[in-house]
Subunit: 197 residues, 2 copies
Amino acid sequence: MLIAQEIKKQIIEVADTRFRRYGFGKTTMAEIAKDCHMSAANLYRYFENKEKIGIEIALKCLHQKEQIGEAVLERDGLSAGERLETFFIDILHYTYDICANDEHLFELVAFISQEHKDIVRQHQASLLAFIGRILEEGIQEETFDIQDVSSKAETILFAMVHFYYPPLVMMNNHRLDQLEHAAKNVVRLLIQGLAKH
Amino acid sequence: MLIAQEIKKQIIEVADTRFRRYGFGKTTMAEIAKDCHMSAANLYRYFENKEKIGIEIALKCLHQKEQIGEAVLERDGLSAGERLETFFIDILHYTYDICANDEHLFELVAFISQEHKDIVRQHQASLLAFIGRILEEGIQEETFDIQDVSSKAETILFAMVHFYYPPLVMMNNHRLDQLEHAAKNVVRLLIQGLAKH
DNA sequence: ATAATGAATATTCAATATAATATTCATTAT
DNA sequence: ATAATGAATATTATATTGAATATTCATTAT
């Protein structure tokens, strides 16, 4: 039935709004149900439990982050180096905004990430794939000198963790402009290291 | 009086042993006092409170880590690149060992780091200074091409955070050999980026 | 059969009481 | 004066309970 999918979507929508405003813990199933004009018991026909709703929302958030990255891949007129830099800067901005403005959402994603490592791995795999594609582009352009693309992508992700991993982005309450400056320095040094001479 | 310094040292020694075995929270001032053959009240003649004892131990630990780094600076027969790599590998090993074997000590240092950002800043400043010296060496050797040494040192520290910052070292229970491999890849890419062509 | 519910039960949370421990202080010993 | 203590007090952790909430289930409606 497609209608069931619609209802699931509505539940997520409603829960998302409440989670962001009041947090996961302070939102009750009864409240979500009321917003959907149904009983709390009926929610369980659509989600196994409250945490599963939280997971969906965290996934939605990570997916959005991936779309930010993906958008950079489709932008025209960038060299591979510029694309890599833009990729991380855009992701940094998105991550920072979420963490700074949606404290509750940040906590939810942090919690889910903690409990469900597979979700994090999946997300990282997406980012790795994007970086891989940018590196391939650099090889095509003959600006990058790379033997093993996926190994190099992994290396770059390790080096940039400070700028996409939420707890680190928020650590030491750096300002966004400071982080952006640091991120540019790191990514440019990496690009320099990738460059063909 | 020098004897007072001796007693302070003994208190730290005794507390260190208990903190490592039972943790900071589960160790009482009375126990520390008993190990020192004195009353709990008397401890306060040497330390303002329990947390100050914890700080001393955390500092000792960070200082030891700095000495690991410093030792690399004095080693003979290394190029600047090799020295930078060795520096981070040695620090990774030390960090990993502490975190993997001394769970309680790890928690103590993490807690103190959380509460006393100045201590972390101080520690990072030490690491930065070491990296700076290695970079200078590379400039002398004419293998590194660097304009602003302290800026580049900072950039390198950002990129290597995964391999010296305890919570990240321990994250995703990577094995030491995996971390070492990743650390080498990152540091070598950075060195490539610093290289003169 | 599918969707939904109210009531029953299980689990988690928050407030409180209680006990353990950190810290202070007045006093004693060196 | 300095070092140390035991007893008093303040603070923090632990256990206990009652209330709130998540989850299940038997029943009803479509």
